[in-house]
């Protein structure tokens, strides 16, 4: 049985992380395309149109896989997480359906016009189409993150024993979930950074090669400005601030910091150390006083709870949850006396904690002390992976901050391309946003364990009644498909990125100029006048 849980989790993690290789670039590049096309509409310079079309080509190569892998996500809740879908579909499904109606339809309809409507639409109409693609993709992220945030901090819903599931009580609470708000800004802004880094790195490549300079410099400048704004938003509005609401978010924060004890406010930030789960302490810790308190609570007087104290709370709630489970069984069996209903309603918020025990004691109410203790130990995430992936994310983020600030400074002083070393740094920093983003998602989702829905549904309960063989079949198939698709995608991406704007076949750019035996420098001189 556990095997099935692990396999289902593995498949979900694999497909979700793979999907999110493509989403951030779509999010960011769409707005960069809008900036470029706006400049075209305002200045009427063809180079901006070429920029929009060329980066649009790369956008398309990426977009195709974003759509492809998104389908898996939509299928997978039903195929592999059927009980989850039944248990929380009432709340979780709504933002997904609304995403389709409000955002994905918009994005997908206008992306067609973006690619094929250049000669069919007026300039302003086409610009509007580009805008709607960008708007659609970011709105899509909004609704997906509302759904995701509800998994982290499930507000606006309660358990209904008659239907055996969570039901929505307040849509406004679900939408205005504080976790959803910080998550939205943080995730979308990090996507903008990915888009900017993509354009910055590839433009740097052209600058290094001395090709299509006017085209590359303009792209570099736009990416530098957009990326600076993006990375500042990502870091300053980092979603650590969303980690003070809800029990699971608190556990996540403590795990990120490998903070076992609750210290008096303001807490110190453990910059580096070796988390030790068995002994429940952090070895060789280097701490910066006050920093964590300020980062996490935005104040000097609120304390950050340690993991040990959180586990004490969990134990109490697990015991209460076991009673709730017993009462629920009575209610389901038809023993719906007002006393039973009242008693159940009072402690049903702990029902999820009771379900944590189900992994060790299927009947829950007869769990032994030892089984309870096992459930308590499970009630916090593994600390070391959290601790390290968070630091990878932050490290990459800070590196990108410096890169974008310097690139922005160069653009402002008209010195783009003056420093070859910096161009190389920009080029080889291309993977940074992806590393940071994947690490960040790992922190958010792995840190949610043992829960599928925080405090409500343990992950091990959420799976489908399918066989291990079936899941192996899907894992192997999906992994094969995804590997082949990734190879093809990267092949095309590299081919067209190397080719640069010459791929547009306008006759104006580097490789075509070479064919025509015209001095490539000529174009640069003309443009720079």
């Amino acid at each position: 049985m556990d095997d099935l849980v692990d396999l289902s989790r593995f498949q979900f993690a694999m497909t979700a992380m793979y999907h999110f290789l493509f989403v951030p670039l779509t999010l960011g590049l769409a707005w960069i395309l809008l900036i470029m096309e706006s400049l075209y509409v305002m200045t009427k310079k063809e180079v901006y149109k070429d920029m929009t079309k060329f980066w649009g080509k790369l956008f398309a190569i990426n977009f195709a896989l974003g759509v492809t892998t998104g389908l898996t996500m939509e299928f997978q809740f039903g195929t592999n997480w059927a009980y989850y879908s039944h248990y929380v579909g009432d709340v979780f499904g709504a933002p997904l359906a609304i995403e389709g109606m409000m955002a994905f339809f918009l994005e997908s309809t206008f992306v067609g016009l973006f690619f094929f409507g250049w000669d069919r639409l007026s300039k302003l109409q086409h610009l509007a189409a580009t805008f709607l693609v960008a708007l659609g993709s970011s709105m899509s992220a909004l609704w997906i993150l509302v759904a995701n945030a509800w998994m982290q901090n499930p507000v606006g819903a309660e358990f209904n024993y008659e239907t055996m599931r969570m039901e929505m009580t307040s849509f406004a609470e679900v939408v205005f979930n504080p976790v959803a708000q910080v998550k939205f800004v943080h995730t979308v802004a990090s996507g903008y950074v990915a888009g900017a880094m993509f354009v910055l790195a590839i433009s740097s490549y052209y600058l290094l090669k001395g090709r299509d300079m006017a085209f590359a410099k303009r792209s570099f400048a736009i990416a530098a400005a957009f990326g600076t704004a993006g990375i500042l938003c990502t870091i300053l509005l980092g979603d650590e601030s969303g980690y003070e609401v809800g029990d699971v978010q608190k556990a996540k924060l403590a795990a990120i910091e490998s903070e076992w004890e609750t210290h008096p406010a303001p807490a110190a930030f453990t910059m580096i150390g070796i988390p030790n789960q068995e002994e429940q302490r952090t070895d060789y810790a280097v701490r910066i006083p006050y920093a964590l308190g300020i980062i996490a609570t935005r104040s000097l007087d609120k304390e950050v709870k340690g993991l040990k104290e959180l586990m004490d709370v969990h134990e109490v709630r697990i015991r209460s949850g076991m009673i709730a489970y017993g009462l629920l069984e009575k209610l389901r069996a038809g023993d719906e006396t007002p006393e039973n209903i009242k008693a159940f309603e009072e402690i049903k918020v702990d029902l999820g904690y009771g379900l944590l025990v189900k992994r060790y004691a299927p009947d829950v109410i007869d769990a032994t002390e030892q089984q309870i203790q096992m459930a308590v130990d499970d009630s916090i995430p593994r600390v070391a992976p959290m601790f390290w992936s968070f630091r990878i994310m932050v490290g990459s983020g800070i590196a990108m901050l410096f890169i974008f600030l310097f690139a922005f400074y160069q653009s402002a002083c008209n010195k783009i391309g003056s420093n070859k070393t910096f161009l190389k740094i920009c080029l080889y920093s291309l993977p940074l946003p992806w590393i940071a983003i994947e690490a960040g998602w790992f922190v958010a989702e792995y840190g949610r364990q043992p829960w599928a829905i925080a405090e409500i549904l343990p992950t091990h309960m959420g799976i489908s009644s399918v066989s291990v063989e079936q899941v192996w079949f899907s894992i192997i198939s999906i992994a094969s498909f995804y590997t082949v698709l990734l190879v093809i995608e990267l092949f095309l991406m590299f081919k067209f990125a190397r080719l640069g704007p010459s791929s547009l076949k306008t006759g104006k750019y580097h490789f075509e100029q070479l064919e025509n035996q015209i001095e490539p420098q000529l174009e640069v001189k003309q443009e720079s006048k």
Partner: protein, 379 residues
């Protein structure tokens, strides 16, 4: 805003609308995908066919995505049971769907004929497998699906993938493919020129009578050989969504009960039988737009026939009929349905509006001159 009973009905209608939107719009681009290697003889001809759907397939596919999302949100238990129960079939659909976005987008980016031919067959697979599986799925749902619910309402599916492939469901699968091809071929008649158009016309003229025949056979089979389901206890239509509170019996001919009760609903199968023939007639007289519209109306009639036959059942259980999911006891809560109804009332008209605008802007046939002009930017 609305009472719970009305909301439950609204979502039966809305999900039908989304599925109909899917078979009409994504139907034609899947049909085109199936026909690419069959009637596209040269690379230019294949590119014409792909470019006739290029600006639209992306938006069209959202009808499918949205239909699945709406089933998740409005009928969570149905989404959970059907998707996990039909696990292998769903995965195969998913893998087939993988091919389309990448196929359309990557195919013409490299000149090598082997590259292009491989993608043509990928698009063919991605466009042919899903309609067959959707048909097979509907065929199985009409016969009842082997699942039971435990006391925690966890669905246990007790069939295998091969059980899905029974004669009736295979018939519906082939029929479904015919409908998609009909839709694709009439689209190509309307949007292309020359040889491709002539061959598409021929395809319509072959497929339309087959579709009518298969629909008639499936109908007769359903009436005579397949038992329907009937709710035999009282059911609280405004009550909580718990599928265990009713009793259901299997009865021969029960899938026809709604037509006897409301004779007007007979229009749905009549439309499904008549309009493919109209598409045929229109093709004979070279009225391609009329052929496409007739074919689209036929899709509407067929899907509605399926829905009306089963109403109020959504997913009948063959193992324990009383566990069947119906419109009345498998929906989301009143709050959720209300929110989604309001959203749908605002956004569905908007979607129809801008989708129509997009089609209007891309109006016109795709021919040789188009390819000569856009050789480097088109699909």
């Amino acid at each position: 805003m609305f009472d719970y009973e009305t909301l439950k009905l609204i979502w039966w209608v809305l999900i039908s609308v989304l599925l109909i939107g899917f078979v009409i719009t994504d139907g034609f681009d899947m049909g085109v995908g199936t026909l690419i290697p069959i009637i596209g003889k040269s690379d230019d001809e294949r590119r014409m066919m792909i470019n006739s759907i290029a600006p639209h397939w992306e938006g069209n596919q959202v009808w499918l995505v949205l239909a699945a999302g709406a089933i998740f949100a409005a009928w969570p238990a149905v989404y959970a049971t059907a998707f996990s129960g039909f696990y292998v079939a769903m995965m195969l659909t998913l893998f087939a769907l993988f091919f389309r976005p990448v196929g359309f987008d990557y195919r013409s980016k490299i000149e090598d004929p082997r590259w292009r031919t491989s993608w043509d067959w990928a698009i063919f697979t991605g466009s042919t497998v899903p309609p067959i599986i959707f048909g097979v799925a509907f065929g199985n749902i009409l016969q009842g699906v082997p699942f039971v619910l435990d006391e925690f309402l966890r669905a246990n599916y007790q069939g295998g993938f091969l059980d899905l492939l029974n004669p009736f469901s295979l018939l519906v699968g082939v029929f479904s493919l015919c409908l998609f091809v009909l839709q694709g071929s009439t689209w190509l008649q309307m949007k292309t020129e020359g040889e491709v158009r002539a061959r598409a016309r021929l395809v319509t003229m072959i497929v339309a009578p087959i579709a009518v025949l298969l629909f008639a056979v499936a109908g007769l089979w359903l009436a005579s050989g397949i038992d329907g389901y009937v709710i035999t206890s009282a059911i609280d239509v405004a009550g909580p969504s718990n599928p265990l509170l009713k009793t259901v019996e299997i009865q021969p001919g029960a899938w026809l009960a709604n037509y006897e009760l409301y004779p007007l609903t007979m229009l749905a199968p009549i439309v499904g039988l008549l309009f493919p023939l109209l598409a045929l007639l229109a093709s004979i007289f070279n009225r391609s737009a009329f052929a496409f519209i007739s074919s689209s109306i036929a899709q509407f009639g067929v899907l509605l026939t399926c829905g009306i036959s089963m109403f109020p059942f959504i997913l009948p259980s063959s193992l324990d009929p009383s566990h069947s999911f119906t419109v009345w006891d498998a929906t989301s809560s009143e709050v959720t349905l209300n929110i989604m109804t309001i959203t749908a009332m605002i956004f569905l008209p908007l979607i129809l509006l801008y989708t129509s605008w997009a089609y209007f802007k891309m109006f016109g046939r795709i021919g040789k001159s188009f390819l000569d002009k856009y050789r480097h930017s088109a699909y």
